[in-house]
Symmetry: C2
Subunit: 266 residues, 2 copies
């Protein structure tokens, strides 16, 4: 079964001409997950002609605007499209507190339920579990409580018969350099890791608790990932090939996240 | 002195591939006003390379998401850019109630003041007045309290000497057909009026309290405007030339609002 990643936004907080703020859609085990939802996410979804009727779950890594300001607009539009399926939102409890009054005010007539699942970003725990996959939180190091998400396919008959390993994908953004995440994402197939800066801006990375491309590559190397996708690029660095070169020198199987691009992961 | 209008978004509530939700920048009398601020407004500003350091005032016509969901992101970005000038927001009082907790949570470190001016959309009154111009509200007919805005240049020595009339611009969106607005915008130079539908969708226009292009043209005709700009186009009508043809038949000096386009008004 193919896993597919669609990058809707891979810029950092300050919007740029080339990059939207963070958002991506992961399709895995016939399910569809939205990970982070920066401003304009619904516009990109629409411009790409993507369908959202299979989108049941949204995972928000942390409550910085560039990771969640698009959620209210998305919910409002789902309402106008007469969505009927429940929408599950996995996020820090403050999001529910912030968003609920807005939903009540702006989305009075919505025809679907929104179920908030309050997660504790400081712990690694299973927050989603069904017949085919689990989602676990990955505690990260950032200026506000932040976690990544590990999506792990469950072993199926096919895996036993062919010896093929179940597929796994980890999303780690935003975070300062944190080698201790290795224990949670060891052996992951595809690691999406933030690389806000290049080594030239190491002081900024440390100050704002972000990573450089080479730090992201070091994590990929330590966890023995099959593939690294880097994103969350700073607006200060215009030539994005510098990110790739820096990461490639440490972890050769690195690719740059690109806006509106679809990646076949497995 | 040139007046200039920049259309950042001229679509209606449901986002489309071609149109952003409502937002425009009016430059008049050396000032710069943002009128409405749908989701993604800051992205369009940035993509167009516009400067916002002279943007002191934001006017929000009503509290539907497609007219205000971009405000929080814009404020947050102004914070990251270390803005120091005050930002004045003119809107229905509920916006302050809704937005304040979000600003406190998401924009903790902003280095500028936000001053909310609560307006009563049901009355026509002066809400802004300085040496060179006034801004008045225009009560409109919509599903929530809504007003338009009339920007009127004050007579200056130049006008007295040359006989030239001071320039005026009116923004009327969203609204059902309301001929009684004539008394407030009579003789306006440029009228921006919503035209969500064409006559074919007249029932929808009535139901959702919007206008057809021909209704917008009738208003322009009644007020004896010099020019009509129509916008707020429904996602249901893909061929926008139909809007123009319909309006042109009644009011020949009509132009279509176009995304990311700058109009020299005077």
């Amino acid at each position: 079964m193919t896993s597919r990643l669609t990058i809707l936004g891979c810029g950092s907080a300050l919007p740029t001409v080339i990059n939207n703020p963070s958002a991506q859609i992961l399709e895995m085990c016939d399910k569809c997950f939205l990970i982070d939802c920066g401003e304009g996410t619904q516009n990109t979804i629409r411009k790409m002609g993507l369908h959202t009727n299979r989108l049941y779950s949204v995972f928000i890594s942390h409550l910085h605007g560039d990771h969640c300001f698009g959620l209210l607009g998305l919910i409002s539009t789902f309402g106008m499209l007469h969505r009927t399926q429940d929408l599950h939102i996995y996020a820090h409890q403050d999001l529910e507190k912030m968003l609920k009054p807005l939903i009540q005010y702006f989305c009075r007539d919505i025809t679907f339920s929104i179920i908030f699942h309050n997660i504790n970003p400081r712990r690694s725990e299973v927050i989603f579990d069904d017949r085919t996959l689990t989602v676990k939180t990955i505690p990260l190091r950032h200026t506000v409580p932040t976690c990544g998400f590990l999506f792990e396919e469950k072993p199926r008959r096919r895996h036993i018969e062919t010896g093929e390993k179940p597929f796994s994908y980890a999303y780690c953004s935003d975070t300062g350099y944190k080698p201790s995440i290795v224990k949670w994402v060891d052996g992951v197939d595809v690691l999406y890791h933030e690389a806000t800066y290049t080594d030239e801006y190491r002081a900024s990375a440390d100050k704002y608790q972000h990573c450089t491309a080479s730090q992201a590559a070091k994590i990929a190397q330590k966890v023995n990932a099959k593939k690294l996708i880097i994103g969350h690029f700073s607006a200060r660095i215009l030539d994005q090939s510098v990110f790739l070169n820096e990461a490639n020198a440490i972890f050769p199987n690195t690719i740059l996240a690109e806006e509106s691009k679809i990646y076949e992961l497995s």
